[in-house]
Amino acid sequence: MRRLATGIASLAAFLLIWKLVVLVGGYPGYILPAPEAVVERGIRAVQSGVLWEHLAATLSEVVLGFALGASLAVVAGTALGKSVLVERALSPYIVAAQAVPILALAPLLDIWFGGGLLARVAICALIVFFPIAIATMVGIRSTDPLLDEMLRSLGATAPQRTRLLEIPSALPVIFGGLRVGVTLAVIGAVVAEWAGARTGLGVLVLIANQGLFDTELMFVALATLAIIGLVFYGLVVLVERRLVSR
């Protein structure tokens, strides 16, 4: 209850400052629209169905890309954490793939994966992969060696030790990576849309900005992207609270 009140107060203060900046600065609507103009434009976009269409496209990219990237990252991170050999062999490529800006890679991936939803999911998955894989590796390595010896004394096999000890030990750190990763998934979706898509909130930003000069609509798209990030981040935190209990 108290947290909800804090949230509402914080949002109200944010909107108030926004409105003040618009009034004091005297900015025209195409540079900085007033908050109520954005809300009004948002309602119209929902009613016309435009927002839904683009939101659905971006949501499917974020969800599928994050799910794919995170699953691959946890598997890869576990292998990296368990084997120094695997880490030495693979980590240069993983770091290099992360160091090349996703913006520069996106057009290439778009060609490779046929330019459809699959291509955008792949771009999303790639950007999500790195922080989660690294977090998993670090987490797996933080396993208490005394507990590991205890399990070995009970004849636990390597897969049993991974399932019963290493993954649960790594879970708090893995969730740190998932929190970062889920916000990156939204960025990945927009970048992927810019590399070649006809729908999606990233596309809506471009249409509003360059085609229609509809700055209010652009703000609606940006706010929706922010809300997607917040909601998914919240979902990750919720799952974390259920799974990581100490």
Binding site: L146, E149, M150, R152, L154, L164, P168, S245, R246
Partner: protein
């Protein structure tokens, strides 16, 4: 499950010229050197020795956690595989998995061996009862006191009903009073089923109070410096442990410990004398 157990159902443990060396910057460090040890079936054997005499290493070799560089180890006449259920091991630290309840920690050996959920819960509850921890079944390890955590670790070592129980100073972190209670209970547990017990300890009085035989180790590389047979009656009451015979035996253990040291100190003393 198995409630009526005939007396002396433990297994014998035999070590034949077992050597263990750990890699060290200055070449290999010999921890155990051609060690022979015979633990009779159903006996309570204490292993005592100074730091670095390889007591814990010896226990790890018996438990199958450490493969000796040479020599052979047998439990009940055959080689041991970790997890085959014949041996239960309790460490110096409780080593409980922090996110599992006490009951699930105790049930871990059963879970690894593929026992069904029902069997796991029943046997783990029985084991907790044996160590007086039935009320703590649903608590997390973080909610247990040090003594309770060690009891839980002991229950985990007992849950498969192993025929050899290996204890690596499991009570050393507890205060002296709690320790005495534990020792009395440990004796009770042993008298109940007469499984083989091998207890590593630093304490002469603990060794004499609990064991039939006290194996005294010499400092590195670890060898058996001597074996003292403890012929005190059972159960060993505080009165019995306060009498002359117990004191004589404790003195003998201390003498054997000192003789193990002497071998090492003589060279040093002679070096000083000639300098």
């Amino acid at each position: 499950m198995i409630l009526e157990v005939p007396a002396n159902t433990g297994l014998a443990v035999r070590l034949d010229r077992v050597s263990v060396a750990f890699p060290a910057p200055s070449g290999a460090l010999d921890v155990l050197d051609a060690l022979d040890l015979e633990v009779p079936a159903g006996s309570f054997t204490a292993i005592i020795g100074p730091n670095g005499s390889g007591k814990s290493t010896l226990l790890r070799v018996i438990a199958g956690l450490l493969r000796p560089a040479s020599g052979s180890v047998s439990v009940g006449g055959t080689a041991l595989q970790p997890g085959d259920g014949r041996v239960g091991l309790a460490f110096q630290q409780p080593r409980l998995v922090p996110w599992r309840s006490t009951l699930d920690n105790v049930a871990l050996p059963l879970e690894l061996s593929g026992a069904s959920m029902g069997v796991r819960r029943d046997l783990a509850a029985t084991a907790l009862e044996r160590v007086g921890l039935a009320a703590a079944a649903d608590l997390r390890p973080g909610q247990l006191s040090g003594g309770m955590a060690q009891r839980a670790a002991l229950a985990r070592a007992l849950v498969m009903d192993p025929r050899v129980l290996l204890l690596d100073e499991p009570f050393s972190a507890l205060d002296a009073l709690t320790r005495e209670t534990f020792n009395a209970e440990l004796q009770g547990l042993w008298l109940e089923r007469r499984r083989t017990v091998v207890l590593v300890t630093h304490s002469v009085s603990e060794a004499v109070a609990l064991a039939d035989r006290v194996v005294v180790m010499s400092p590195r590389p670890g060898r058996v410096a001597g074996v003292v047979d403890v012929d005190l009656a059972r159960p060993r009451t505080p009165d019995l442990l306060g009498d002359d015979r117990a004191a004589v035996l404790a003195a003998e253990v201390r003498r054997t410990l000192a003789s193990g040291h002497k071998v090492e100190l003589r060279g040093w003393a002679e070096g000083v004398a000639t300098a």
